[in-house]
Amino acid sequence: MSEAPQLVVEDLHVRFRTPQRMVHAVRGVSFSVGREKVGIVGESGSGKSQTGRAILKLTPPNGTVSARRLQFQELDIAGASEREMLKVRGSRISMIMQDPKYALDPVMRVGAQIAEAIPETPRLSTAEKRDRVMAMLEAVHIRNPARVHDLYPHEVSGGMGQRIMIAMMLMAEPDLLIADEPTSALDVTVRMQVLAILDDLVTRRGLGLIFISHDLNLVATFCDRVLIMYAGRIVEECAAADLQNAKHPYTRGLLASLPRIGSRHQKLAVLNRDPAWLND
Amino acid sequence: MSENSATLRGWLKAEVTTSSRHAALQRFYFGWLRLKGNPLALFGLAVLLFLVVVAILAPVIAPAGYNDQSLTRRLLPPSAEHWFGTDELGRDVFSRIVWGSRITLYISCLVAIIAAPVGLAVGTTAGYFGGWTDTVLMRVNDIFLSFPGLILALAFVAALGPGIENAVIAIALTAWPPIARLARAETLTVRSSDYIAAVRIQGASPARIILKHIVPMCIPSVVVRITLNMAGIILTAAGLGFLGLGAQPPLPEWGAMLSTGRQSMLQAWWLAAIPGLAILTTSLAFNLFGDGLRDVLDPRSE
């Protein structure tokens, strides 16, 4: 990348205090994101979601975040107050969650929810807002925006709900999008559509995208760059196209454990976790 | 068990449990650790334990019998000799409060023992079978629920005649419907879960599914509900006593004491205030303990 990265994370730590012990969920993670698609892959408990949340300071109250540097454009997130973060969240950095069912307000029509995300300034009339919502619904390839505009969240399908979420998140024209398993709740064919929409938006609007997922295949084919997380650390970073040639035994183990068409009559490789991975 | 207390704790926290009893005890121990972290609940529990001890040791603690009259020492204010003063018949109020704790515990425990199983049985049956069974059982339930508790209890006591046993029956009749509702709601969520489906395709009979698989899931919320309802039960019992329909004189039931104390409240404040305080403290203790119990027993908290 020639230009300066949008987001720089250096030595990020997230710790949780539970009644029994201290859990060190993210242990010294460093990376940067430009106007590109960066995938974070890992298994449950690898700290990938907590990394995404920490960037938006959305860590649950029993957790503490520390970092040598957590910089988004000109803003020092690590030192930012809650009030400053409120201005950033949803307007300059947006987050797409796994399941749209829980992220959409069940008693508010879809159109009204998207309109709420329109920035306060400049002030727009109701009609102008409606036009912008319609345009955005079209941008996420909803064929009949007028009808969808007046539906309630429970009346739309999962794929449509996820597209509505994306429309909502993009309304404020953010510079960085954090998508935490945005397609895990979707069927494979719908997943392709949603990913294509995200892909086009990143290319056309020049956003940065952090794509958090457990699906190696998907990340390898969708993202530009991949970070592989294990037990709170990034164990490997590589171009998505080179993932098949990964060097770290954990990444190689994960890839080998995937069942494939054609792997019948073979035993799948089982990952042997080396305690040394925790420390290198 | 030959272990001393240090290794007993180690045994309770052991990574590997070696028998069903060990696992159950460990579960209980972890629950206790959680409860210990909640000072208000612990306070409630302490008050209740204190009450139980007082009730058991009433003959030792109370300086006099609950009906030892001394007409020369009527309406004496609290003093070193009579901590809570004396009433209009010269009876020691402190002794009567101590003896009365037996009646209060007797009523509340008996109501809980009757109402909880009835409510559980009705609620889980209605919830599991659904359809007509559900409709019939829940309409009966609605009828009971649509009367204010005290009024319903009054009606039953009026029909059965006053007395502690009849008061218990009457209060139990008003206490089971909310428990049945709760158990039914709980059953409806549990019924569609995969672990119930799994036991169904093992060929278990409905009775077995309800008793061994659904009831254990309902018990925590029912226990919490009953504990929280205890305050209401004590107040209803006191209300019946106050109206002269519960425990009959000279029994030192706290509500009845409050009722008679009311007549001489202006000259002798302690006659109404002391039983009132006793009722207040006990119901508060049940409420605090119930709240803490909810946090401990909630399966989602594990």
């Binding site: 909803i142 064919t189 190696l216 994960l254 | 489906a197 093992q202």
Partner: protein
Amino acid sequence: MTDSTNPNAMISVRDLRVTFGTGAAQVHAVDGVSFAVKPGETYGLVGESGCGKSTILRALCGLNPNWSGDVTIGGEAMTPVRTRSFYRRVQMVFQDPYGSLHPRHTVNTTLAEPLKIHGIGEADERISRVLVQVGLGPAFRYRYPHQLSGGQRQRLAIARALILEPQVLLLDEPTSALDVSVQAEILNLLVDLRDRLGLTCILVSHDLAVVAHMCDRLGVMNAGKMLEELPVSALEDDSPTHPYTRQLLAASLGYDRRLASGAVEDIEG
């Protein structure tokens, strides 16, 4: 589909229909599906959520009595209400190992329950044996589900299904709630147990790769209908005929912008 009338089939399903609701709200969840599974074979049912694949399993195992059609298992015609002995022959493993285990029962209680229901003795030996079979040591015997990892829970769920020594094992997305490395362990375990115990299996999954790994033949479903039946070798040769199957196959290989462009235009609205 001549296979479905095969008298040698372990499971034979003909014209199975399952409807939910009545009147205008009626949904044909399964709409005239037929297939047959030979003894010892593993048959895959693939499709997206709501296509009716799990509904078929629930009808087969007796959880949903509201179906019509002809179903025979082990040569015996099925009625909506099953006898107790039926459940000794057909068992099921559910998708979500967090929801399929009773949270207040220890491993021991969970495994002892089916033995008690069927009045089978020697509970102690049987439980130890099945725990070893699924790769859980004796140390797990008195733990509660919340003390187990996702993979350990799924092993327990498999042990519970196997303790009655069934002939037919129905698998409803048994690995979709698990991490990939754990998925590999569970798939290996299932393949191993199937081969060792000679089980006949039906595997329901949305993941073509999982089905291709475990099964011999598969049926592709969409909107309650069976679109096509094909041997897994057809997937390996990349020769499925139905366009929907090809779409699933393409999607299973990951993201492809060129393929997705066709999909983007084809959006419900």
